[in-house]
Amino acid sequence: MRCTAARRRFDRLLDGQLDPTEAARVREHASRCAACRVELAQRRALDRLLGDALAPVPSPADLAPAVLARVAAVRNAGPNPANEAGPDLPLDVALVRSAAALLAWTATALGAAWAWLSVESGGPDQAARRAGDAIRAGTARLADTAVQVSAGDLTSVLQEALRAWVTGPGSILGRALDGLAGPLTWAAAHPSTVAAAGLTALVIGMAGLWRIHLAARQS
C-alpha cells in the first residue's frame, strides 16, 4: 500500500470504519513507514483531544421540569395541532407549491392555446411576430401619450428608457418573443404531451389548494 492510499484511510481506521483486512493493511504500512506513523499518531492525538474537548455536558437539574412546564402550558392552551389530521407540510410551503403548480398550468395552457392558434394562422413564427408588433405598437402609443402629458425631466428619462426597452431595435421583449417561437413550434407538434403536462400541473395545483383549504378550516 502506498502512503497516499494509507493516509486516505487513516480517519476511517481511527473511526473503526475499515473492515479488519483493510485495517490490518493500513496498520502494517504504518509500521513500516516512519512518516505515516507520525501522521497516524498525530491524527490519533487530535481524535483523542476532540473526544475530550467535545465530551457530553451534564444537563442542569432544572431542565426537565422547565421543559415539562412549557409542554404543560402548550397542552393546556389547546389541542395539539400535530395530533389533528391535516397537511404534513407547513402552510406556506403548501401555498408556494400550489401557486407554482397553478402558474405552471396557466403557462402550459396559454402555451398550448398559443400553439394551436398559431398553427391556425400561419405558424408560430408569424404569430409571435404579429404579437410582438402589436405589443410594440401599443407601448409606443402609451409612451407618446405620456410624453405629451409629462413635464419633468425624470418622466422623460423614464419614457425614453421604456421606449428603448420595449420598442427599440433588438429590444428585450422582441427578442423574448422571437425566442418563444422554437418552443411553441415544438408544443404545436406535440399537443398530447402539452395536454398531459397541463393536466398534471392542474391536478397538483388543485390538490395543493385542497390541502390549504383543509388547513384553513382546522385553524
Partner: protein
C-alpha cells in the same frame, strides 16, 4: 425507551412524555451546548427543541430509532438558530471553567488547549461543525450521522475528514504531549481500532465501505 412507552407519549400521556424528556435530556442538552457554545443558549435551545419534539411526536412512525429522530429535530433547530444569530463572540467554556478547582499548570494548559479546540470547531462551517459534534459528543457512527442529517454516508465521511484537516491546519500550535516527542514514534502495537471514548453507546462500527 420501549415502543409501548413511546406510543403512550404519542397518545398524550404526560408521564410517558416526562419519561422521554428525562431519558434524552442529556444528549439533547449536550448537542445544544456544543453547537451553541454556552450554557444559557443551550438551555433555551434544549427547551425549544423538546417543545418541537412534543408537537411532532404524533408523527413519529418508528421508521428510525427514536434517538436518531430526536437528534434530527434538535440538530435542525440548532442549525436554524446558528444561521439566524449574529456572529458569535468568543465565550469562555463555562462548563469547564465553572467546575474547575485549583489546577496545576499542565491542567490549565490542557484546558486552554481544549477551549482552543472547541473554538476552532465553532469556527468551522456549520455543515462540518454539526458532523464533528454528532461524532464526538453523541458518539455516533458515520451511518447514524447520515441518518440524522439525511445525507449519504459518503458525504459524512468526506465532511468529517475535511473538518479534521481544517482543524489540524488551524491548530498546528496545539500539540498533544504524546506526539510532541521529536523522534518518530515507535511502531504501534497492532490492536483493535478504534479506541472508543468512555461511555460509548454505539461501539465501533466495523464494516466495509
Amino acid at each position: 425507551m420501549d415502543e409501548d412507552r413511546i406510543r403512550r407519549a404519542q397518545a398524550g400521556d404526560p408521564e410517558s412524555f416526562a419519561d422521554l424528556v428525562r431519558t434524552y435530556q442529556g444528549p439533547v442538552y449536550s448537542l445544544a451546548w456544543r453547537l451553541a457554545g454556552n450554557a444559557e443558549d443551550a438551555r433555551d435551545l434544549a427547551q425549544e427543541a423538546f417543545l418541537k419534539i412534543y408537537l411532532a411526536l404524533p408523527k413519529y412512525r418508528f421508521d428510525a430509532p427514536l434517538r436518531t429522530w430526536l437528534l434530527r429535530i434538535v440538530t435542525n433547530h440548532c442549525l436554524d438558530w446558528l444561521r439566524r444569530r449574529p456572529p458569535p463572540s468568543v465565550p469562555l467554556d463555562a462548563a469547564g471553567a465553572a467546575t474547575a478547582p485549583a489546577a496545576t499548570d499542565s491542567e490549565v494548559e490542557s484546558r486552554l488547549a481544549a477551549e482552543a479546540l472547541r473554538q476552532a470547531v465553532r469556527e468551522l462551517p456549520p455543515h462540518y461543525q454539526v458532523i464533528v459534534i454528532l461524532h464526538y459528543t453523541q458518539d455516533l457512527s458515520y451511518r447514524e450521522i447520515a441518518d440524522v442529517l439525511r445525507i449519504p454516508v459518503r458525504t459524512v465521511e468526506t465532511r468529517l475528514a475535511r473538518a479534521r484537516a481544517l482543524l489540524r491546519r488551524r491548530l498546528g500550535a496545539i500539540r498533544d504531549p504524546c506526539v510532541e516527542s521529536p523522534a518518530v514514534p515507535p511502531a504501534p502495537a497492532v490492536r483493535a481500532e478504534p479506541a472508543r471514548r468512555p461511555g460509548s453507546a454505539g461501539g465501533a462500527e466495523v464494516r466495509a465501505q
